[in-house]
C-alpha cells in the first residue's frame, strides 16, 4: 500500500516508524514539539518551524524534546546522548546555523568512534533544511552539504523525493555513525506515492533515475528534478540523458558515477551549492582522475555562483541552477 505524501510528510512517517521500532530514538530541536500539549489533544503543536515533526509529540510524549534556542546546546546534548546509548535525531532548523554548533559535529561526533578504537558508537542523526528557493535570504538559504561531506567520520545524505527521504532517514537513524540528513527546500513539498511500512535505502548508493546514453546529468536533492525535466526537453531534440541521483554525498557512489560516464562519455553535474570545494568539483575531479579515458566532452559543472544567496526573487531565481542552463550546457557539448 502506498499513499501520496510530501517529502516533509515522508520524513514525519519515517520518524514515527523509527520511534515505534526503537525506544531509544528521541527527537530534539527548536520547537520540534512546538509547545504541543503533552496530555491534551486540543492543542495544535507546531512540529518545528516547517511543521515536519507535527503530531509526534502526542504519540511519543516523553521522547520529543523542545530545546532552548542554542544549537551548541542541542548538538552537545545529542552527541552525549548518542554515545551513552540513545539514538537521537536532532533538528538543526537551517543548515546555515551549523557554524554555531560545528564543534560537537566536527571534533566530537565525527572523531569518537575512530579515537576510541571503535568502542564508541555515535548513532546520531542531524536533520536539517538546506538550499534556496523560498526567499529566505543569505543566512537561511545555503547549501552547505559539501561542508559536512568533507569531514571524515560524518555521512551526508540528501534525498530528492519523498520515497528516498523516508528510506534514507530510516537508514540514517539506524546507522551507528553520525549522519547529516539534508532536506532541500525546493523538494520539501514534492509529492510522490510513498510505500507504507518500514524500508531503508542504503546510504552510499546513487540511483539511476532515467536511462539515456548520450549524456549523464548528475544531481542531488533539488537539482534532480531539474535534471529530469532537462532530460525530457533534450529528448525532444533526440538527446537521451542518463540522470543519476546521488542521494548520498558522503559516502559517494563513485562506481555509479563512473559507470554512467563510461556509458555516455559526457558528464554534467548540477549542484545547488556554491562552486568552490564543492561536490560538483569533486565529481569533476573523479571523472578526470578515474574516468579520463571515458571522457568524450569536458566535464561541466552547473552550480550557484560564488556569492551569497540573494533575497530578491528574480536574483534568487537567477542564482539557482535552472533547467534552461542544463539544456543549454548539454547542447553546447555536441
Amino acid at each position: 500500500m502506498s499513499r501520496e505524501l510530501s517529502l516533509g510528510q515522508a520524513v514525519n512517517e519515517a520518524l514515527q516508524i523509527a520511534m515505534e521500532t526503537d525506544p531509544d530514538v528521541i527527537l530534539m530541536g527548536e520547537d520540534v514539539a512546538g509547545g504541543g500539549d503533552r496530555t491534551g489533544d486540543d492543542v495544535d503543536e507546531m512540529g518545528g518551524v516547517l511543521g515536519t515533526t507535527r503530531g509526534l509529540v502526542k504519540a511519543f510524549p516523553d521522547r520529543v524534546l523542545d530545546t532552548p534556542i542554542s544549537e551548541m546546546g542541542i548538538l552537545g546534548a545529542a552527541v552525549g546522548a548518542a554515545i551513552t546509548g540513545m539514538r537521537p535525531v536532532v533538528e538543526l532548523m537551517f543548515m546555515d546555523f551549523i557554524g554555531t554548533c560545528l564543534d560537537p559535529l566536527l571534533n566530537q561526533a565525527a572523531k569518537f568512534r575512530y579515537m576510541f578504537g571503535g568502542k564508541v558508537r555515535v548513532p546520531l542523526t542531524v536533520r536539517t533544511v538546506t538550499g534556496a528557493g523560498m526567499q529566505a535570504a543569505a543566512q537561511h538559504s545555503q547549501s552547505l552539504y559539501w561542508l559536512t561531506a568533507g569531514i571524515p567520520g560524518l555521512k551526508t545524505v540528501i534525498p530528492s523525493n519523498p520515497i528516498d527521504a523516508k528510506g534514507l532517514l530510516l537508514a540514517a537513524i539506524r546507522d551507528d555513525n553520525p549522519v547529516v540528513f539534508c532536506e532541500a527546500k525546493m523538494v520539501l513539498g514534492s509529492i510522490a506515492e510513498v510505500p507504507a511500512g518500514d524500508y531503508e535505502i542504503p546510504i552510499g548508493e546513487a540511483a539511476l533515475v532515467r536511462e539515456g546514453g548520450d549524456v549523464s546529468l548528475i544531481g542531488m536533492g533539488a537539482t534532480v528534478p531539474m535534471c529530469r525535466s532537462a532530460a525530457e526537453q533534450l529528448a525532444r531534440d533526440g538527446i537521451q540523458a542518463d540522470v543519476l541521483d546521488l542521494r548520498s554525498i558522503q559516502p559517494l557512489d563513485e562506481e555509479a558515477i563512473l559507470a554512467t560516464l563510461e556509458k555516455t562519455g559526457s558528464v554534467v553535474v548540477v549542484d545547488e551549492a556554491t562552486p568552490r570545494s564543492s561536490v560538483a568539483s569533486d565529481i569533476a575531479a573523479l571523472c578526470v582522475d578515474r574516468g579520463f579515458d571515458f571522457l568524450n566532452t569536458p566535464v561541466k559543472r552547473i552550480s550557484a555562483p560564488h556569492c551569497p544567496v540573494p533575497f530578491s526573487r528574480p536574483l534568487e531565481q537567477a542564482y539557482i541552477p535552472s533547467i534552461d542552463r542544463i539544456v543549454e550546457t548539454v547542447r553546447g557539448l555536441a
Partner: protein
C-alpha cells in the same frame, strides 16, 4: 658624430612583435628629441614612437607593412645631415639577438605570402591544434589509428569518440577506382544497383534520408568523392568533374541507376556523356551546367569559412542558402539540420573544397550543348526556393527523354529539406526506368 637607433619597442609584457605602419618624416628631415618618428601597430593598436635623440632622420630599415620582433632596428637618426653614415655597418653593429631577427612577412603581406597562400591547406593545417577528447584518444590507441588524421565534429573541431569509431568503420569501405586512388563507398540494400553522388561540401550521408527506403529494393552505392570523408585527397590543383565521372564509372560493374545532387548531378551528367552504357536511368537533383555568380560566391565563402572557422559556424552560414523558410522556422528541425551540416562539414576538409571549387569553375559552361545528346531516361528534381542553381529547369528541358519534378517550398538542399518528396520522386522514376 654618431647615430641613434629607432627600434621596434616592447610596449607590453606580451608584445613580441610589431608592424611598421608609417614613417611620418622624409629622409633627411630634422628631428627633435620627443618628436614622433615612427608609427607602429601591435595587437590592432597603433602607437606613435618618439625620437630618443635630436638630429636628422637618416635611414629606414623596415618598410611600412613589415612586421618585426621587438628590439629590431627599424630606422636611424644621425646627429647631423652631412656626417658620414654607413647603413649596413650601423645595422651590423646594432643587430638584435638571433631570436629577434626580422620575421618573414606575415601571411597577408609581402612577398613570402604568395607561396604560402598558393599552397593548399593540408589536412594537417586543420588538425594540428584541434582538441581530442580523452575517450577518442583512448579508442584510437586501442584501434591503432592516428588520432590526428581523424576529422573532428565536436566544438572547435574536437575529435570525439564517435569520430574515431566512424573513421575506423569507414576505413573498411575504401574501394580503389584509379591507380593510387581509393574512395570511400557506403553500401546498403540488395537489388539493382543505384549510385548516389553528393553535392559540393557534402558526403554520402546527405542521402541518408533516402537510403532507408531505397535500400529495401535497391543496392545502394553511395560514394564520397576525392577529398571527402576518408576518400583519398590527392594534392591536385583541382578535382575535375570528368575525372570524378571516371572514378564513379569504376564503381559500376553493370548498368546502374545514377543519382546526383548539385555537384553530384554535374558528375552524373558527365558520366552520362562519357559512360552512357553504364547508366540505366539518371536522376539529377538541383543540377547545374553553368555555375551562377551567386553559386560561385557562396562556394568562395564556404571555402573561406571552412579554412578559418569551425564546422558549426560554417553550418550556420550555409543553412539560409540551402533551405527554405519552412525548415528554418522549425526550431527543432533547424537545430537538427545544423548539427547534421556541422558534422558533414567536419568530414569535408577545406583543402578538398578548394579543389572542387576550382573544378567547378573550369567545367562550368562546357556541357550546355551536349545535353541534347543524352538518351537516358532522366528525372530532374528542382526546388522552388533554390537560390543556387537557377538553371536546373533548363537542364531538364534540354535532355530529350526527361521529366521534371518541382518541389515547391524547398531550397537547394532538397534531399534533406523535402526528404520524403524526393524519395517518392526517385522511387517512381526508378520503377519506370
Amino acid at each position: 658624430m654618431a647615430a641613434t637607433v629607432i627600434a621596434m619597442p616592447r610596449l607590453g609584457m606580451t608584445m613580441e612583435e610589431g608592424t611598421v605602419v608609417e614613417w611620418p618624416l622624409p629622409i633627411g628631415a630634422p628631428v627633435s628629441k620627443g618628436q614622433t618618428v615612427l608609427v607602429i601597430e601591435t595587437e590592432k593598436t597603433e602607437a606613435e614612437i618618439e625620437a630618443t635623440a635630436s638630429g636628422v632622420f637618416r635611414h629606414i630599415y623596415v618598410e611600412p607593412g613589415e612586421t618585426v620582433a621587438c628590439g629590431t632596428l627599424c630606422g636611424a637618426i644621425s646627429d647631423t645631415a652631412d656626417e658620414a653614415f654607413d647603413a649596413d655597418a650601423f645595422a651590423a653593429a646594432h643587430a638584435p639577438p638571433e631570436s629577434a631577427h626580422p620575421k618573414v612577412p606575415t601571411f597577408e603581406t609581402g612577398a613570402g605570402a604568395s607561396a604560402k597562400a598558393a599552397a593548399p591547406l593540408s589536412d594537417d593545417d586543420r588538425s594540428g591544434k584541434r582538441p581530442v577528447a580523452p575517450a577518442a584518444r583512448a579508442l584510437a590507441r586501442e584501434l591503432e589509428l592516428d588520432v590526428d588524421a581523424i576529422p573532428g565534429s565536436g566544438p572547435g573541431g574536437r575529435v570525439t569518440k564517435q569520430d574515431v569509431a566512424a573513421h575506423a568503420a569507414a576505413r573498411e569501405r575504401l574501394v580503389s577506382v584509379a591507380p593510387g586512388i581509393a574512395l570511400e563507398v557506403l553500401r546498403a540494400g540488395d537489388g539493382d544497383p543505384v549510385l548516389l553522388m553528393p553535392g559540393f561540401g557534402a558526403d554520402a550521408s546527405a542521402f541518408a534520408p533516402q537510403s532507408a527506403e531505397l535500400s529495401v529494393d535497391y543496392s545502394l552505392i553511395a560514394v564520397n568523392p576525392r577529398g571527402v570523408g576518408l576518400s583519398d585527397a590527392p594534392d591536385q590543383q583541382r578535382y575535375e568533374i570528368p575525372q570524378a565521372a571516371h572514378d564513379a564509372a569504376a564503381l559500376l560493374d553493370r548498368p546502374s541507376h545514377v543519382i546526383g545532387a548539385s555537384l553530384g548531378a554535374a558528375v552524373a551528367l558527365e558520366l552520362a556523356l562519357q559512360h552512357a552504357d553504364k547508366i540505366r536511368s539518371l536522376t539529377l537533383i538541383t543540377p547545374f551546367v553553368r555555375a551562377s555568380p551567386r553559386l560561385l560566391a557562396v562556394i568562395e565563402a564556404w571555402c573561406r569559412i571552412a579554412e578559418r572557422d569551425d564546422p558549426k559556424t560554417l553550418a550556420a552560414f550555409l543553412a539560409p542558402w540551402l533551405f527554405g523558410d519552412g525548415l528554418l522556422a522549425d526550431e527543432v528541425a533547424r537545430r537538427r539540420t545544423l548539427q547534421g551540416l556541422a558534422a558533414m562539414s567536419a568530414r569535408t576538409p577545406a583543402a578538398g573544397l578548394r579543389r572542387w571549387a576550382a573544378g567547378i569553375a573550369v567545367w562550368s559552361g562546357t556541357r550546355e550543348d551536349s545535353l541534347a545528346t543524352i538518351r537516358i531516361p532522366t528525372l530532374c528534381i528542382v526546388a522552388g526556393r533554390d537560390l543556387l542553381t537557377p538553371d536546373s529547369t533548363r537542364i531538364a528541358a534540354a535532355i530529350p527523354d526527361s521529366r521534371t519534378q518541382e518541389i515547391a517550398d524547398a531550397g537547394h538542399g532538397v534531399t534533406i529539406e523535402a526528404a520524403d518528396a524526393v524519395t517518392a520522386a526517385i522511387r517512381a522514376h526508378l520503377n519506370r526506368s
